[in-house]
């Protein structure tokens, strides 16, 4: 089977799955269901393309679709601040970091190991589905109240609540400061590690190597 045919089969199947997801969402819950189906197919389709494609650039851009779909989920779940943070940090920063790695990674021009991809998908998917059915059969999730869908005040911004929660002394201020320290230490350490010269880390260049 040649490369072009495989690509056509994969993307055709992906388009069919996307249409099926959109239709199922629309049939299940109307317009919110359609939005859910759109974000779900963005998320899952993006991650599938990421696993499938051979060059890191294409995979990284497919991962962008995944992150944007998850930001859409956060909007649907009324967490607008998280959606914004998702777009800023994941799409803006982490994806740029991964794209930086493209310079290190030659494109994988070898034969696509179709059996490995399919076998991995089937194995892991089966395992996750098995655990999922077990959990769904036993867990009794305490859904406290039906979500206040038709709240008279309209959509509430969660940014203010999160900001107050970060700074109020009896809520999350300790975790906030800890996260600040962790970020500082990790980023300074990352810069230090990344700036070492190539000669310093060759194995035969003395004790400082590793």
């Amino acid at each position: 089977m040649d490369e072009l045919l495989r690509q056509r089969i994969f993307y055709g199947a992906l388009a069919l799955l996307t249409l099926a997801g959109l239709g199922m969402g629309l049939a299940a819950a109307g317009a919110p269901g359609l939005a859910f189906g759109l974000f779900a197919s963005l998320t899952l389709g993006g991650s599938l393309v990421c696993v499938w494609e051979r060059s890191v650039v294409r995979s990284a851009f497919a991962l962008m679709a995944t992150f944007l779909g998850i930001a859409g989920f956060f909007v649907l779940l009324e967490s607008d601040f998280l959606a914004m943070a998702q777009v800023l940090i994941y799409v803006g920063a982490i994806l740029a970091l991964i794209l930086f790695g493209v310079m290190l990674s030659p494109p994988d021009l070898g034969e696509r190991k179709l059996s490995r991809v399919l076998g991995g998908l089937l194995l892991v998917g089966g395992a996750v589905a098995w655990v999922g059915t077990k959990v769904a059969a036993t867990a009794a999730w305490a859904v406290a109240s039906p979500p206040p869908a038709g709240d008279v005040r309209g959509p509430i911004s969660s940014a203010e609540r999160i900001g107050v929660g970060f700074l109020a002394a009896d809520q999350y201020v300790v975790a906030f400061e800890l996260a600040a320290v962790v970020l500082t230490v990790a980023l300074v350490a990352a810069v230090y590690i990344a700036r070492r010269k190539r000669a310093d880390i060759q194995p035969d260049s003395g004790q400082e190597g590793l």
Binding site: A29, L44, V51, I98, V117, L121, G132, W141, P148, L210
Partner: protein, 100 residues
């Protein structure tokens, strides 16, 4: 859409992340798989928070997950740079210095 739909999407994303880690022999796919898994966990945090008491705990968890993922990506990329200098490759199977 109910809680179950979000949990199902999150489980599927988690599975695809695992597949990205174990199928593709490349450090960057491992990184991307880790990001997918963290994002799957984030969906669960926010969905359970929303359909539970609608408080702040789950959203705070998600924010700290994002912060730690950013720190992890930076440190991991620095390590990958050093591994590339050392082995001229980004395949984790070729980093076998301790075997000698």
């Amino acid at each position: 859409m109910g809680l179950g739909a979000y949990v199902a999407v999150s489980a599927a994303l988690f599975a695809i992340g695992i597949v990205a880690i174990i199928v593709r022999r490349n450090v960057f796919y491992i990184l991307m798989g880790i990001e997918m898994i963290l994002n799957a966990a984030n969906i669960n945090f926010v969905a359970f928070n929303r359909f539970g008491d609608n408080g702040l705990d789950g959203r705070m968890f998600a924010i700290f997950t994002i912060i730690l993922a950013a720190a992890e990506a930076a440190v991991a990329l620095a390590i990958v740079l050093n591994v590339f200098y050392l082995f001229d490759s980004v395949k984790p199977t070729e980093a076998d210095l301790l075997r000698e």
